[in-house]
């Protein structure tokens, strides 16, 4: 499914934060959306998920304007996880079942196919062993994996994640990003991920979209990003290293 942002202009609390943003997401890719705090990343995500509708320009999913879609149709095409996740007192299996909501009747009766998808989402995220555990008893990393399983159960071609590795330790971050990459490869999902950690962005993303001064200042891959000195220009930092050996960020004097 092709996702196109075309000339998006949007404001947050009456202040213009996005000006003429145009780019598109390749099918089966991971696109990192980066920018300084207040650069408009969350506003752009809100436009995509339909929470914000008062913007100019169009967002097209396979040529269809998302503003013309009803919420249920949109929920079958785009799934989204916010940065701050709640701690509901439900089991992991119940949480993953919530992901099937756009497909279920009012009574919530699950079909055989729903059950298969839920089991698969638990398996892919390594949460099968935690299926009967309560979400509010899990560690931060496990809870994020549980919510990711819910998102996978929603089975949408486009998955939007807002800082999925925030507050996780180094090992959990690697595991989570490896899991996302595996989903992309095996299931052909398209990911749009809001990220802050530059080495992680350069290592994991196929495409990088940089928001700076209300505009899209860069859109391309990691090598192009480094070649154009985007970290220096937009974040006032220098990046050393390579994809194989990893990257290090050094602040500029």
């Amino acid at each position: 499914m092709k996702t196109e942002f075309s000339h998006i202009c949007a404001s947050y609390r009456k202040k213009r934060v996005l000006q003429d943003i145009t780019f598109s997401l390749e099918e089966g890719s991971i696109t990192a959306l980066i920018g300084r705090n207040g650069a408009g990343k969350s506003t752009l995500i809100s436009c995509l998920t339909g929470e914000k509708t008062d913007y100019d320009g169009t967002i097209l999913l396979d040529g269809r304007d998302i503003r013309t879609m009803d919420v249920q149709t949109r929920a079958r095409l785009i799934s989204c996880l916010p940065q701050n996740l709640p701690k509901p007192h439900v089991t992991v299996r119940e949480l993953v079942t919530f992901g099937r909501t756009p497909y279920l009747p009012l009574t919530g009766k699950l079909s055989k196919n729903d059950e298969i998808i839920i089991d698969r989402a638990l398996e892919v995220t390594n949460m099968t062993a935690f299926a009967d555990a309560f979400v509010d008893t899990l560690s931060g990393g496990e809870r994020r994996r549980a919510f990711l399983a819910m998102t996978f159960a929603q089975n949408t071609p486009l998955i939007v994640l807002d800082e999925p590795t925030a507050h996780l330790d180094a090992n959990s971050r690697f595991e989570l990003m490896a899991l996302i990459d595996n989903m992309r490869k095996t299931m052909g999902k398209t990911f749009l991920i809001v990220m802050h950690d530059l080495p992680e962005v350069l290592r994991c993303a196929n495409q990088i979209a940089v928001l700076h001064d209300k505009q899209l200042t860069f859109f391309g891959n990691a090598d192009e990003c480094l070649a154009q000195q985007i970290p220096q220009k937009c974040f006032n930092v220098r990046v050393h290293g390579s994809k194989e050996d990893g990257y290090a960020v050094i602040p500029m004097q």
């Binding site: 439900v90 009012l106 919530g108």
Partner: protein, 332 residues
């Protein structure tokens, strides 16, 4: 049927039988104690003129059914409110049910002192209108859960001030209001309960039908939106159902406190998780039992004096409330 479904069905049957037992105790004990045989003969109406038939059909049975309806309605209301506000300490008073009903009753007594038969209707309208006012104000102010609680506090405080003001202007209304605010099912008739019973049945049915959707409210507005539902609409529906259910109970039972707060927490001990499809029926039956037992205790413990059930539930409820506050490990 898998093991989990079987054990839940068994739990429902056990609770149902316990509720029937409590109802039977309610029929048997009171100011005039009847034997088991007399209760059964009275229920079967073997002799329509017999004293036990009259006691059972005119006094005890409406009373017991009133307790069951009231307990069920307030518990269902409590479950919906705690889910909609994601606040384990929410009860019907948080959406202004008590303040709205109380104000309407005092206003009626001031304007039409002889129309005491209209008290149930006034209580229902007052409670329901107050909820609509609070939900509308909260939605206008952004619709967040905390806004709802704050709107509830503000409107309830205003109405309570109104109650005090009217009671000062019209001191005669105090007696009617005090009796109403104590909460109890004394003297209730089948005809008085007919409309509230229909309303309670409809709200219970709709709550069960939408329970699967209401379950999602624990995920927060943003995730609910991404799952293809409108959290604010869903929350408003839950609140209106909660209000209709509690208002129906208040209309014939007065301000019976703490049932809506306590029972959902007790019910959560019986089921795994917070699935409303399980929590609603379990809470309804536990609520019925609690009100039946509170009422029975109030009628028999200090006989011949009769203590309204509302006072007994408050006596149990306040320590329970503190227990909830102190028990940090227990979550909604």
């Amino acid at each position: 049927m898998n093991k989990e479904k079987r054990s839940f069905a068994l739990l429902l049957w056990i609770l149902f039988l316990c509720m029937l037992l409590c109802a039977f105790l309610g029929l048997r004990f009171g100011s005039a104690e009847l034997s088991m045989g007399q209760v059964i003969r009275g229920l079967l109406r073997n002799d329509p003129d017999a004293i036990e038939t009259k006691v059972v059909w005119v006094i005890r049975l409406p009373h017991v059914i009133g307790c069951i309806l009231c307990g069920m309605a307030l518990s269902i209301s409590g479950v919906l409110l705690q889910t909609a506000t994601n606040n384990p300490l929410a009860g019907p008073n948080i959406i202004g049910v008590n303040a709205g009903a109380g104000f309407a009753v005092v206003l009626l007594m001031c304007l039409f002192p002889m129309q005491y038969r209209l008290i149930p209707l006034a209580a229902f309208i007052g409670a329901f209108l107050c909820t609509i006012l609070i939900v509308t104000a909260a939605n206008k102010a952004g619709g967040a859960r905390v806004t709802l609680v704050l709107s509830g506090v503000a409107v309830s405080t205003l109405l309570n001030a109104g109650i005090s003001f009217l009671k000062l202007l019209y001191p005669d209304t105090s007696i009617a209001y005090n009796y109403f605010s104590a909460g109890g099912i004394d003297g209730v008739t089948f005809s008085q309960m007919l409309v509230p019973a229909v309303m309670i049945f409809i709200t219970a049915l709709l709550s069960m039908l939408l329970a699967n959707r209401f379950n999602l409210l624990c995920l927060g507005d943003s995730i609910v939106h991404c799952l293809g539902l409108r959290a604010r609409v869903l929350r408003s529906i839950a609140l209106l159902l909660a209000s209709a259910s509690a208002a129906a109970a208040v209309s014939f039972a007065g301000l019976l406190g703490f049932v809506g707060l306590m029972v959902p927490h007790i019910a959560r001990r019986f089921i795994k998780g917070s699935d409303l499809r399980k929590l609603l029926p379990v809470s309804a039956m536990l609520g019925a039992m609690l009100v039946l037992l509170a009422d029975l205790f109030g009628r028999t413990a200090f006989a011949p004096s009769q203590i309204p059930a509302g006072i007994i539930t408050a006596l149990i409820g306040v320590p329970f409330f503190f227990l909830l506050l102190f028990q940090r490990r227990y979550r909604l």
